[in-house]
């Protein structure tokens, strides 16, 4: 069974947040949703989770109790301890024999030693890992993560990445919105959104391959409208260039070029 959205439209008053967006979600695969601020990432995820309703198109999703959702806010109760938060989820889902699984998930997320700590006293990374653990505890068919790694240190991002990969390996369909394109590059499927529309979709390799022209790695750009910084150097898109003459292209390059081509401007 696969889940997803088919040509969905979501409006907030006069603003169209999603305009004809489609995403097919396959079990056992990680799907990354990327795009700039206001591109519609969170709206798409909330739609898939069922906390928003579509104004057009169709959404296929498992029943609510088979969805694990970590919202941008986290959804953790700060006045409960780590153990109590996990227990609350177990009771809400009427899980039996959940303690071993909870212990395993807390171990993998590095929270096993913090069971008695109030969730409100956790660090940002621990907070997100707890939210992920709570979402994974009932063994969801569809796991939806809204920018859970934003602002976290590399170790925490790595631990969350392991949790996500473990869930996908056990057959869970994962949809994750992320601000980090290196994370998205490790996903099987990527959906690039811009102003509520799909700019590119497919595997990271196919998205990179679909970018026309080439990317030059320069000390100084000669076409500032098509150039962006990376460290001390500049990346510059040459639409008519030969791919073989440019440097290696990353998903980040492909995403920026796609936005440039869509009229999003240089960075």
């Amino acid at each position: 069974m696969s889940w997803g959205a088919e040509r969905v439209v979501v409006r907030f008053g006069a603003t169209t947040a999603l305009d004809g967006v489609s995403l097919a979600v396959t079990p056992g695969r990680v799907h990354a949703v990327v795009g700039g601020d206001g591109s519609g990432k969170s709206t798409l995820l909330r739609l898939l989770a069922g906390v928003l309703r579509e104004d057009g198109g169709t959404v296929r999703r498992p029943p609510p109790h088979r969805i694990g959702f970590v919202s941008a806010g986290g959804g953790v109760v700060p006045d409960l301890t780590v153990a109590e938060n996990v227990e609350f989820v177990a009771h809400a889902h009427r899980l039996s024999g959940w303690r071993d699984r909870a212990g395993d998930l807390l171990q993998r997320s590095g929270l096993a030693a913090f069971g008695d700590r109030l969730a409100g006293h956790l660090s940002g990374g621990q907070h997100r890992k707890l939210a992920g653990t709570m979402a994974l505890l009932p063994g969801p068919e569809l796991l939806i993560l809204d920018e859970v790694t934003t602002g976290l240190d590399p170790d925490s991002r790595l631990e969350i990445g392991r949790l996500v990969a473990g869930a996908a390996a056990s057959g869970t369909a994962v949809v994750t919105a992320t601000a980090y394109l290196d994370e998205a590059e490790r996903a099987e499927e990527v959906l690039l959104l811009h102003d509520g529309r799909v700019l590119a979709a497919g595997s990271p390799r196919s998205i990179i391959a679909a970018v026309p022209g080439c990317i030059d790695d320069l000390d100084a750009p000669d076409d500032p409208d098509r150039a962006w910084r990376r460290g001390r150097r500049w990346r510059q898109w040459r639409p008519a260039g030969d791919r073989r003459s440019g440097g290696a292209m990353t998903l980040e390059d492909a995403a920026i070029v796609s936005e440039l081509a869509a009229g999003g401007g240089a960075r």
Binding site: R46, A49, G50, V51, P64, H65, I67, G68, F69, S71, A72, G73, G74, G75, V76, V77, P78, V89, A92, H93, R94, M134
Partner: protein, 320 residues
């Protein structure tokens, strides 16, 4: 500032509400004191001045009849006429009516004046039962609305939406603890009133509990309504102030309802605090029975039911 319409409304709305209500409601002098005349009226009339408004006549009644009329708040002053002298009973719970009546009665010949329920005309005895309502409204409204808004800000409601929980489970789970805390608050406030301020507890505990229960439902309803209409805790505070202020002004808590213009009396008539005040004062100080308090109790239950049901339906729509 012009984009923050709610703050703007608060900046101008609160002064307008306060000026209007203080201007019209802030009357301590009761010009017409509702008075009952019990016993045969002498040929020359009861001898009362123009400040007394005869609202009940009981030609065949006696002192017990007069006491009942005051206990049931049918009048603030009862005149019991007799062949030799006139007994005047004054309801000490209606503080400003009583003070006004005592000034006017000083000129009445052969009258024996007795102040009932609050003989020393103590302000604390009258105010403390009302303050209990204010405390419940203030604390209950703020803790419920801020608590619910905070949870929404933290994203827990979105989390609940993907859990196998019915909206009713969430509503009961969220409101019940606040309700329990508010109920405990009420018990503590009543005990403090009795122990610290010598407020007498003369009436029925069950009747007091009935008024308290209905009022707490109304307060919780207001709290949920405020949270439903607020996107942040700051907005919830602003809206809560707008709900609390008018209730304090026109509920009879500070200013006597009898001294207010008709419009404000009508506004007060749809405020739960008005009926809770009547219930608290009548049960605690006058030992009024249900037969005398059925109307304020029915009104309070009705208002509480409307506020609570509307708030729960809106909250449910948000969770569904």
């Amino acid at each position: 500032m012009r984009r923050d319409r709610r703050t703007l409304a608060l900046m101008f709305g609160v002064p307008i509400i306060m000026l209007t209500m203080f201007g019209y409601a802030a009357r301590f002098d009761v010009k017409k004191i509702p008075t009952a005349v019990v016993g045969p009226v002498p040929a020359g009339g009861a001898g009362l001045g123009p400040g007394f408004d005869i609202v009940a006549r009981r030609p065949a009644g006696d002192v017990a009849t007069a006491r009942r009329l005051l206990r049931d708040s049918r009048a603030d002053v009862a005149l019991v006429t007799g062949p030799d002298r006139t007994d005047v009973l004054v309801d000490g719970v209606e503080l400003f009516s009583a003070q006004s009546a005592l000034r006017r009665l000083a000129t009445l010949p052969r009258a024996r004046v007795e102040v009932l329920y609050n003989p020393s005309l103590s302000t604390a005895v009258v105010m403390v039962p009302s303050i209990i309502g204010f405390i419940l409204l203030f604390v209950g409204l703020f803790i419920t609305s801020l608590g619910v808004v905070r949870e929404r800000e933290q994203g827990t409601f979105e989390q609940f939406a993907v859990m196998p929980l019915r909206p009713l489970d969430v509503i009961v789970g969220k409101i019940a603890p606040y309700f329990a805390v508010a109920a405990l608050n009420m018990v503590l406030a009543v005990v403090a009133g009795v122990v610290l301020f010598d407020v007498p507890f003369r009436g029925s505990v069950v009747l007091l509990a009935a008024f308290g229960l209905a009022f707490l439902f109304a307060v919780q309803g207001f709290g949920v309504l405020v949270s439903t209409a607020s996107r942040s805790q700051g907005e919830a505070v602003q809206l809560a102030i707008l709900i609390i202020l008018p209730q304090i002004m026109v509920s009879g808590m500070i200013f006597p309802i009898r001294a207010m213009p008709t419009v404000l009396r009508w506004i007060g008539a749809v405020m739960p605090l008005t009926y809770f005040n009547i219930g608290m004062r009548s049960v605690l100080l006058k030992a009024a029975p249900l037969a005398a308090l059925w109307f304020p109790l029915v009104m309070l239950v009705g208002l509480a039911a409307v506020v609570f049901v509307v708030s729960v339906l809106l909250f449910r729509r948000e969770l569904a």
